[in-house]
Amino acid sequence: MKKYLFLILLTLIGLYVFAAPLKVAFIYVGPVGDDGWTYAQNLGRLYVQNYFGDKIQTTYIESVPTANAVNVLKQLALNGYNVIYTTSFSYMDQTAEVAKLFPNVIFENCSGYLTGPNMAVYFGRIEEAEYLTGLIAGSMTKTDKIGYVAAFPTPEVIRGINAFALGVQSVNPKATVQVVWVNDWYNPPNEKEAALSLISAGCDVIKSETDSPAPLQAAESKGVYCIGYNTDQSSYAPKTFLTASVFNWGTYYKDDIQAILDGKWKTHNFWGGLDSGVVGLAPMSNLVPPQVQNLVNAMENAIKTHSFNPFSGPIYDQSGKLMIPAGQSLSDQDLLSMNWFVKGVIGSISK
């Protein structure tokens, strides 16, 4: 009898362990309340929590300083978290370091490049969405001057600006894209001032790439069109918002966690574009005329089906030098190290 009890107990424990939810942790570089990058990441977390219900249990730690990341990651692994997403490039090295210590935990870093047996990386080709927003900006401008509020001159940001400018120029070769660096990812008052400076210089469409909705507020207050970034920020500029290029991190997290639950997870280097759904456009507002919306939808389809690549030649740099001849396009390697502006961009990259 005792033997049976023991077996039943063992089965129960086994069932419990088997049915215990997958514990998933997210580390954020900023506050969830930034309404930008981290906010978009957290929307992804909420999406998978809602989608998988009891099967997973998620948590997050926000505003983790890079210097603290190793301790935070170790603590999470020790607390039994099975999957840990570190959602900023700045955590890549720390993630790799801790991943070696916990081979049974899956680590994934957003926008990095280091992988390992239990460490993967993932990112979105936001520049594909930026190209589409460029089509809209180029069609909507009347002064042929478009302002771009940018954070720091990293290859990722430069790629986005270039794709945007290529979109602008493809519909409006006379239009220029004036770039202003805020030199901060997140500083709402300064982001607003940068946008206001661009507007006073005659720009009538403002594209923001920084993390807060402040540039959109600036555009709204001056009555010029604006295009957002990260998430649909239309509520900040109800009268002038055109669209936004957005990250749908939930799409990626859903597929990734499904693979983990199915036991099919393998390390990977995911870099998804419009076709994967990780990046996309916020709904275009009524201000965008139907023919422009049709063009954008057609180009979106062409990019999704890989019949068109925004970075296909001929592409010239700011000085008019041919960088990519017709018939060729930039490789991923070139894109990852991009440090020059295409024709039509006004602004400089400090090196």
Binding site: Y186, N187, S200, A201
Partner: protein, 309 residues
């Protein structure tokens, strides 16, 4: 070109106004001998409180009043710790920063992405039509005007009234002030809390007029710049006005220069406020430096009748 010039100067005032409020408040607190490094925390709480009350009630003035009171409440905590308990003022001030960041972030999450009433520009008749000066100075929101007015008021108070003289006496020579029958402890409490009022107002300006929204840590270090500005201003409200608009101007100029393609090392310009912040520590620690720059002699020194220093 004209537009850029006007926009830059207008931007300097816009960016300078929250600095001005916080600096004026800190001047009063430091004049009484209390160093409060917690401006950033008080501003964040002011910004959060102002926005949330405006969102809930729709009443802007109630929102501003609430922000001011919350700033004062935070400051009274610092006053209790540094005046009554005589804890190190630097430590207590830093605690206030973290408290404000944490609480405003925690409570504020519910308000991210919300829209609330905000202050609009109010053009002053006639004055607002003067070329250049009109749009820069006299077509602003009402809080900016309050900023203009508070400078001469505080100057007059500090240098022309008995209460102002008593305040300065408490910061310069608390023993002597005490001997003359001035209540040192009460005076310090009062002006530390009034300093908090101003920081709360500075925060409300950011969330209700400058960038009307709530996002976490939206003051982005402006409290620290104000701490630095107090020294730049050598504890004088009029120089504080010049300094606040100048520092505000730097943050706007960096963008105008980029558009006009003027090569200026922006990073160096952005560094200035923080260099001043380093000086704060020197002032709080050395009597000789205090004398050299005209800082209140008793700045950062807790007062006690029993332990004469």
């Amino acid at each position: 070109m004209n537009d850029i010039v006007i926009s830059t100067f207008a931007g300097a005032i816009r960016a300078g106004t929250p600095l001005l409020f916080a600096t004026l408040g800190e001047i009063l607190a430091e004049r009484s001998g209390v160093l409060n490094l917690g401006l950033e925390g008080m501003m964040l709480m002011g910004a959060f409180t102002g926005f949330s009350i405006s969102y809930i009630t729709g009443n802007l003035w109630l929102a501003v009043l609430a922000a001011i009171l919350v700033g004062g409440l935070m400051a009274s905590l610092h006053a209790f710790m540094s005046i009554t308990l005589r804890i190190n003022q630097v430590v207590s001030g830093l605690a206030l920063v973290f408290l404000g960041q944490g609480l405003s972030g925690f409570w504020g999450n519910a308000y991210v992405g919300m829209q609330a009433n905000s202050f609009q520009n109010l053009k002053i008749p006639l004055l607002g039509d003067i070329p250049y000066i009109g749009p820069i100075v006299f077509n602003r929101d009402i809080l900016v005007y309050i900023g203009y007015i508070s400078v001469p008021v505080i100057w007059w108070f500090l240098y022309k009234t008995t209460a102002g003289m008593n305040l300065r006496a408490v910061g310069e020579a608390p023993d002597a002030a005490d001997a003359r029958g001035i209540n040192v402890i009460l005076t310090r409490y009062l002006y530390t809390i009034i300093g908090g009022f101003f920081s709360g107002l500075a925060g409300a300006y950011i969330s209700l007029a400058y960038t009307p929204m709530w996002v976490q840590n939206m003051t982005a270090g402006r409290g620290w710049i104000a701490v630095a500005l107090v020294i730049f201003a050598i504890w004088d409200p009029v120089i504080a006005l010049i300094g606040a608009y100048a520092f505000g101007g730097i943050s706007v100029l960096q963008f105008s220069f980029q558009i006009l393609q003027v090569p200026i090392p922006v990073n160096i310009m952005n560094m200035f406020p923080y260099i001043f912040t380093v000086f704060v520590m020197l002032f709080a620690s050395s009597n000789r430096i205090k004398k050299l720059f005209g800082a209140p002699s008793a700045l950062g020194v807790p007062y006690s009748r029993e332990e004469k220093t």
